[in-house]
Symmetry: none
Subunit: 226 residues, 2 copies
DNA sequence: ACGCCATGTCACAGTTTGGTGACACAACTC
DNA sequence: GAGTTGTGTCACCAAACTGTGACATGGCGT
């Protein structure tokens, strides 16, 4: 099983050393820091495979580190938070985190999450993702359906990629507006719906009975392969 | 326990039919093939819950199938090998297999391994909570009962999630109205009751004798697993 | 056993939501 | 500048959802 270069950022020394020890035991190679600043330096210079960030940190907090990291590249990120800060889930995912773990966490659970995220990241970093008939080539920014190339406009592509980045998850309209359109203010708008509809018209065999992009009434949309 | 859609790939016909029969007897739903190519097709089109792959296969071998499957998604994989090929263990695990079983294998041993892997896979995927037959996936906003997806309306889902968030606790109507409906004023109404009733009709085997959502007369409702 | 009151049950109409196609306008190409 | 393409909005419609109230039921104390 592959050994990962893990960056761990956690300000509580006892939690930090405990996690570091546990992860090392599980065969990972871990480097840990107490602050976001150090973490950013490390990321820039050492290029870890994955970062595990505590949300609450002195100075630059985990969410902010996550946001900045996301601007740099695709480094997978898992956020750690104390139990009960439910609101953070939204903020964290909006900052681009790949997963979200509530403390205290069982080492083997964390390990499983790490492996899952790495696996996902690996398949995501590969240029092509396949879902049944649908092939999304991120390198070439091309989408093919049953071998036939589908033309998607830039916005449509961004939306589709965002949905695909979280397969199986329901993403709400507000989130999508923020991430795909950068709209922080506008709350109500049929924009997302219209765009989804346009994508469906192109990739769904029968748009009325979608196979890829599912509507979850009252919540949002979910990409899940057939 | 849940019935799994198992994909079995084994080129020796006698072993294949024997295993298929045994697993079917144990309540699994099994589809089997003799080659890796067919298996990959099946995985892409049918999305089984777990794949059991013989390592030695003509054409694309089990390890290679496993590697490719891993690039696609999180499908759990168990590799089968003939006794003594120790080297394969490493290769197999590196390819991302979840478990590794040496032939000949007792059906009940294989069954146990399958259940273990499925359990692990389930708990590793983040937002799922299981109560007996009932599985609530908070990320996908999906509810399944004995493997069958249950459609809940937005309000029903919000109410159920709120109840599940406090398992074993009694939540009173005023609280639920406030949290789920945003009603701060309206005190008395059959609203909560009606909604609970609707949920019960969908998830309770016998709504008259509820197993999940219990009425606590004079106080409210309590979600507690059977 | 009786009556009270909390809860279960149900049907329905008003409301909400999302799908859909049309359209205007901006950006871009030629 | 004319045509083409991409994008945001709108209005309309069907379908889904939900609150409501009347009535039934059943538990519980007396």
């Amino acid at each position: 099983m592959r050994v990962a270069g893990i960056l761990l950022v956690e300000d509580d020394p006892s939690v930090r050393t405990a996690l570091e020890l546990a992860l090392t035991r599980q065969g990972h190679s871990v480097t840990s820091y107490a602050t976001g600043e150090e973490a950013l330096d490390h990321i820039r210079s050492r290029r870890p495979e994955i970062a595990i960030l505590d949300v609450m940190l002195p100075g630059i907090d985990g969410v902010e580190v996550c946001r900045r990291v996301r601007k740099l590249d695709q480094l997978p990120v898992i956020l750690l938070t104390a139990r009960g800060d439910d609101l953070d889930v939204v903020v964290g995912l909006e900052a681009g985190a790949d997963d979200y773990v509530v403390k205290p966490v069982e080492p083997r659970v964390l390990d499983a999450r790490i492996r899952a995220v790495l696996r996902r990241a690996e398949s995501a970093s590969s240029d092509r993702i396949t879902f049944g008939d649908l092939v999304i080539d991120r390198g070439a920014l091309k989408v093919t359906l049953a071998g036939k190339e589908i033309h998607l406009t830039p916005t449509e592509l961004r939306l589709l990629l965002e949905l695909v980045r979280h397969p199986g998850q329901v993403l709400n309209r507000r989130y999508l507006l923020r991430v795909v359109w950068d709209h922080t203010h506008i709350a109500d708008s049929r924009l997302v719906d219209a765009c989804v509809q346009r994508i469906r018209a192109k990739i769904e065999p029968r748009p009325a009975a979608p196979v890829f992009i599912h509507t979850v009434r009252g919540f949002g949309y979910r990409f899940s392969p057939p």
